[in-house]
């Protein structure tokens, strides 16, 4: 009996438990002794809560059992199967064991017709029978738990039993568990980054990584290989990231985003605003890979032609400027929407006060509204920067891979995200510094954006408090 079937059967039984609990609850409510007639207080909880209580108490332990078996079951079975292989041919190393089990699994699922290892054929049969037995045991245990829980819960149903409170508590814990999933996943991601980065820093010193100016991650696979020195100075990558994401993109996005926010909040009639604002925010929904096409196929050649016309004959078709310009366009709605919020949060009284002094609209914006909204705008810009430096597709497609320390925007630079993609694409060995460096880069990126986000949010929050 496969686990998925056990799972479905349990859910079906759960529905039954619900129906039973509900009908008992309904019976209590209409019993003559209870006062009947739906008077509030005669029966503490409504029938649905009685049903939900019974179903929850019956289902929760059984489902937990099935879920935990689903998580560890394969390991336990593999242990048994491998132990059955004759000692002489038994796989010894971790790698051999997993290869052997892959073969067994392949045979079991029918993907493979015949094993390379004669032991695997035998093991496959054993695997099937062991799994069947174990699943049967788990199914029986789950059914027993279900029955025990259900009966105990059912026996507790009384007119004064507080089923509603118990169900509410269960709902609360379900919600807590759901939110924990996101938090724990983030934590797990951070831990894996830290762990792999630690392995990287065992072969490359953090100082060299953070201050070195040469990035050439090709490492020698064989001792006699030439031309693969392996230099992990990430400064050119950090520079490229800042140059594209925090400088060029912001030079585009800050003025355009701010001015469109000013137009939308201060000048546009409400009819125009109603259509223009969603339209602008639509820009934020364009997939970044589409921006990437645009950058690589339209903007980059135009930028190169422009550079050539300026006399730069060696202009690259992958330029920091092309990637930065398009990224700036992509960030506009982000900046604009944050600035819009900040400007809207400035009290109307401030605007009226300035207008009543005889200030024009643009004077009011320049001298009162923007200064008053500045913390919110700065916070929005910081969030936009953190978004821009983590952006990947545009730079992968338009910025290039050359790790140059270059301040000429017509030249090619590379970014942290581009390098991570390059390092992890294709067949890679996962224990070379080359591959591991991607994790160290990811960690740096993560820490920087985290700091930017925390700082930006605190700026925005402080500003909000000031006007409440």
């Amino acid at each position: 009996m496969p686990l998925s079937l056990i799972f479905l059967v349990l859910l079906g039984l759960g529905l039954g438990a619900f129906a039973l609990g509900r009908s008992k609850g309904a019976a209590m409510a209409s019993a003559p002794g209870a006062g009947g007639g739906g008077r509030i207080g005669s029966v503490h909880s409504r029938p649905n809560y009685h049903g939900a209580f019974v179903a929850l108490v019956a289902l929760a332990p059984a489902l937990l059992l099935v879920a935990s078996w689903a998580a560890v079951g394969d390991g336990v079975i593999a242990e048994r199967v491998i132990a059955s292989v004759p000692e002489a041919t038994r796989p010894a190393t971790e790698l051999d064991r997993s290869a052997f089990m892959n073969e067994v699994q392949g045979l079991v699922s029918g993907d493979m017709e015949a094993g390379f290892n004669p032991d695997a054929e035998v093991a496959a049969k054993l695997f099937v029978t062991t799994r069947g037995t174990y699943n049967l045991i788990v199914g029986a245990l789950a059914a027993a738990l279900f029955a025990m829980g259900g009966l105990w819960a059912f026996s507790r149903l009384r007119p004064q039993f507080r089923a509603r409170n118990s169900v509410e508590r269960a709902v609360k814990w379900l919600l807590v568990a759901s939110s924990l999933v996101a938090i724990l996943t983030t934590f797990g991601i951070v831990m894996s980054l830290v762990f792999e980065s630690f392995r990287f820093f065992q072969s490359v010193s953090p100082v060299e990584f953070l201050t070195g100016t040469t990035w050439s991650p090709q490492t020698a696979m064989r001792a006699d290989q030439v031309g693969s020195s392996g230099a992990f100075g990430a400064v050119p990558l950090f520079w490229g990231t800042i140059f594209i994401g925090a400088i060029i993109a912001m030079v585009v996005a800050i003025p355009l985003g701010l001015m469109s926010a000013i137009y939308l909040t201060q000048y546009a009639p409400s009819q125009v605003r109603r259509y223009l604002k969603p339209l602008l925010e639509l820009l934020a929904g364009v997939p970044t890979v589409v921006y990437g096409f645009f950058a690589a196929l339209t903007v980059a050649p135009a930028v190169r032609d422009f550079a050539v016309s300026l006399g730069m004959t060696d202009a690259s078709s992958e330029s920091a400027l092309a990637a930065g310009l398009v990224m700036g366009i992509m960030i506009i709605p982000f900046v604009s929407s944050m600035a819009d919020d900040a400007l809207t949060a400035v009290p109307q009284a401030m605007r009226d006060g300035s207008l009543a002094m005889g200030a024009t609209r643009s004077e009011t914006v320049r001298r009162v509204l923007v200064p008053a909204a500045l913390p919110g705008i700065v916070g929005g810009v910081l969030l936009a920067i953190s978004r821009a430096i983590g952006e990947t597709m545009i730079v992968v497609m338009a910025a290039g891979l050359a790790a140059n320390l270059e301040i000429n925007p017509f030249k090619s630079v590379t970014t942290v995200t581009t390098q991570i993609v390059a390092l992890l694409t294709g067949d890679q060995e996962f224990d070379s510094p080359k591959t591991l460096s991607a994790f160290a880069l990811g960690l740096v990126l993560f820490v920087i954006t985290l700091i930017l986000n925390i700082y930006a949010l605190s700026v925005v929050k402080k500003y909000r408090e000031a006007y409440e």
């Binding site: 009639p269 409400s270 009290p347 009284a349 401030m350 605007r351 009226d352 006060g353 300035s354 207008l355 009543a356 002094m357 005889g358 200030a359 024009t360 004077e363 001298r367 009162v368 200064p371 008053a372």
Partner: protein, 261 residues
């Protein structure tokens, strides 16, 4: 409607004739006419939603900033229609200043708050000029002695009453001819209110002052002329002493004696 005794008519600063205001389809003010005297404090009283603030905001065209608002009728400042092409709204608002219900100093220093208007209108030729304007305005608003040592501090850090006097000082810094006050004391405690009322009394004569208030004692204390508004119409307009002691209209009398509102 402007039928106060002709022997007491002082020089008229602003006139309104048949002014109606609509917010979208809703009429908030119905054909109001009034003369505002140069030397007096004129009070607009009436229950909430009676149109008195709406009317006040016509005098410096602040209703322009409300998208759905539409003003009909004629409002003149020294004989020139404020809605006519030859009256620029920037100049109008420099000549007709306004103080709002809630103190709304800009989040700038005290000095910069006062200097705001003069800077916009280019009234000061030098730093010394500006210093003089700031000091003079703060003195006239009775605030100079309290703030002269902390002009660089933020205007928003002062107490509510000080903030409101700062807003009055800000308004008089451009030397307007009329000051409109929209319930200037409704957010203040009684002591701060008394100070503002004193200040209004001192400013009387130098500026034509129109004050909207829902506080009838305040109207009685600070004004010489009172107009009573009810449901978008002006019910009665006359000398404050007459309105409060011997109103012609029964609605005015009911309101004054606290029967509604």
């Amino acid at each position: 409607m402007s039928d106060y005794p002709s022997n007491t008519v002082p020089e008229t600063k602003m006139t309104a004739r048949n002014v109606s205001v609509f917010y979208g389809a809703k009429q908030a003010l119905k054909s109001v006419s009034i003369d505002v005297s140069r030397e007096h404090v004129t009070a607009f009283i009436g229950p909430s939603g009676c149109g008195k603030s709406t009317f006040l905001r016509c005098f410096n065209r602040m209703n322009d900033t409300v998208e759905s608002a539409r003003v009909e009728g004629e409002i003149k400042l020294d004989g020139t229609d404020v809605y006519s092409p030859e009256m620029d709204v920037v100049q109008l608002r420099a000549r007709v200043g306004m103080v709002f219900q809630k103190p709304n100093p800009f989040p700038k220093s005290i000095y910069e708050n006062i200097a705001y208007g003069p800077r916009i209108h280019g009234l000061a030729r030098s730093k010394a000029d500006m210093d003089g304007i700031v000091e003079g305005s703060l003195r006239r608003a009775g605030l100079w002695d309290e703030v002269k040592d902390r002009l660089a501090e933020s205007g928003t850090a002062m107490s509510g009453g000080q903030q409101q006097r700062l807003c009055i000082a800000r308004a008089i810094a451009v030397d307007p001819e009329v000051i409109l006050m929209d319930e200037p004391c409704s957010a203040l405690d009684p002591i701060a209110t008394a100070k503002i009322e004193e200040l209004i009394d001192e400013l009387r004569g130098r500026y034509a002052i129109v004050i909207v208030t829902h506080n009838m004692q305040q109207a009685a204390r600070v004004s010489q002329k009172t107009a009573f508004f009810h449901l978008g119409t002006m019910v009665e307009y006359g000398d404050t002493s007459t309105i409060f002691t011997n109103p012609a209209e029964s609605r005015t009398k009911d309101y004054i004696t606290g029967r509604y509102g």
